[in-house]
């Protein structure tokens, strides 16, 4: 059976507490740092006879990860070295960011490491396409063109025939926008230019909510979220841009069910970044679909072809288009 691992870390106090309970680290339960503790299994997620995934918690909080990237990479290396018989490792949240976006970890371990960028872009492109076609829009805005995911989402939507407006600035981005035939404007103008907006900026909280058009749909893949707190314009809504359907026969057990809830997946979906190492292990693929800044439209298309083996597809919440 294919086996993969997905490394995660607590983002909130609640998540730290749950990791503490699961790992019998009572200090973490009562608010102490988990930085000195070993990583360990949070839950199993699996499809009988096909694939088995182990979600492993690296118990560092966001501030600790960002202020000690070298230590964070060491902790991830230790976590990977404790794994048995996995053929791919995926990185969640800030673990996919620190250490040169997974490259430092990949240099030090023998199992393939992937950061989920191709899967995230695939889901965002698919979800944006559905929203745009439902709304009868031929124009989509993409924020975060400076990042690898934002860039490939823009390129992918442009290749599908949409008029794409991207948000960003700088000579490098001007050149890249011209290369793929998209219009580069400021993020504020981009966000207000279309009814369908993909939020892929790697810097969260970049915009006030009122820059969106009334009735617009923001498909957010950013962490932290794209918008600062504030009231959305009338009829506008924010949806998770990287949500993906559950594989058929998906099982999770008690801790996996809890993981689904505290990570924000909910009961009927996963986020795309979990799908990438899963697909790699089923396909016995040793080359990551994405790592560091490396994710191309070709990688996304390869992932799209490969993901059919698990029957996954991008997912929007039921009733998303109901006012």
């Amino acid at each position: 059976m294919a086996r993969f691992a997905f490394l995660v870390h607590p983002l909130t106090r609640l998540q730290s507490g749950v990791v503490g309970v699961r790992r019998l680290n009572w200090g973490m339960v009562f608010g102490a740092s988990g930085k000195g503790a070993a990583s360990g299994k949070l839950c199993d997620l699996w499809v009988d006879g096909l694939v088995h995934g182990e979600v492993v918690a690296v118990p560092w909080n966001p501030v600790e990860l960002l202020s000690d990237q070298d230590g964070a990479v060491d902790a991830m290396v230790a976590a990977v070295e404790n794994l048995e018989d996995v053929s791919a490792v995926g990185l969640g949240s800030l673990l996919a960011v620190v250490g040169s976006r997974g490259e430092a970890l990949a240099e030090r371990v023998s199992v393939p490491v992937t950061t989920g960028g191709a899967a995230t872009a695939w889901a965002a492109i698919g979800n944006a396409e559905v929203v745009a076609k439902t709304r009868g829009c031929d124009k989509v805005s993409v924020l975060g063109f400076g990042g690898a995911v934002g860039r490939v989402v823009a390129e992918g939507l442009s290749a599908k025939g949409f008029e794409v407006i991207v948000g960003g600035k700088g000579r490098r981005l001007e050149r890249e926008a011209a290369k793929i035939g998209v219009e580069l404007v400021t993020p504020e103008i981009a966000a207000g230019a279309s009814q369908v907006v993909v939020g892929a900026s790697t810097t969260g909280g970049i915009l006030d909510a009122d820059v969106l058009q009334e009735g617009a749909v923001l498909l957010d893949v950013a962490l932290p979220p794209t918008l600062r707190k504030g009231r959305l314009p009338r009829g506008a809504r924010v949806l998770s841009g990287e949500a993906v359907t559950l594989p058929e026969g998906w099982k999770r057990g008690f801790w996996g069910t809890l993981y689904h809830w505290i990570s924000g997946y909910g009961s009927d979906q996963i986020f795309a970044c979990l799908a990438e190492p899963m697909v790699m292990s089923v396909m016995e693929r040793t080359e990551p679909f994405s790592l560091g800044r490396r994710v191309s439209l070709g990688d996304v298309e390869e992932f799209a072809d490969a993901v059919t083996c698990l029957g996954l597809s991008p997912r929007l919440p039921e009733g998303w288009d109901v006012s």
């Binding site: 070298d70 040169s100 990042g147 600035k169 700088g170 981005l173 900026s201 790697t202 800044r293």
Partner: protein, 135 residues
């Protein structure tokens, strides 16, 4: 402006190039990291990580702002509602000598400080941190 230490600049430029997907020749000493090189916050993290490894130093998060605030008795001497005071601007300018003085305009927000960063800012940090490590 030319780099004070071309050897250090070459390594810094290489780190920027790798983090941003550029050619090293595209990284100019005076370039604004966000507005001209197109860096986002993740890129800054990556740049810091690469510099720390290349030069075997530790770049503290928020180090520039800490240096600017150092010794002030009260946060309100430095900023009010996220906007730098006149003293705050003066202290920030002193902490960032490589930045043209006309960049420190009244109304500058704390959240906008990263927009001032240039490649030369990181060159200076590398030199200072390397020297204090060796001292």
């Amino acid at each position: 402006m030319q780099p004070n230490d071309p050897e250090i600049f070459d390594v810094v430029a290489e780190c920027f190039a790798e983090a941003l997907g550029l050619e090293p020749e595209e990284v100019e000493y005076d370039a604004l990291v966000i507005d001209e090189l197109g860096a986002e916050s993740l890129d800054l993290l990556d740049i810091v990580f690469r510099l720390e490894r290349a030069f075997k130093i530790k770049i503290p998060r928020g180090g520039i702002e800490s240096a600017a605030r150092d010794g002030l008795a009260d946060d309100e001497e430095y900023e009010v509602n996220g906007v730098l005071t006149a003293l705050g601007l003066e202290r920030l300018a002193a902490a960032m000598p490589e930045i043209p003085s006309d960049s420190f305009q009244e109304g500058l927000k704390v959240s906008e400080i990263p927009l001032l960063f240039r490649v030369s800012t990181f060159c200076r940090l590398v030199v200072e941190l390397s020297e204090s490590k060796d001292a």
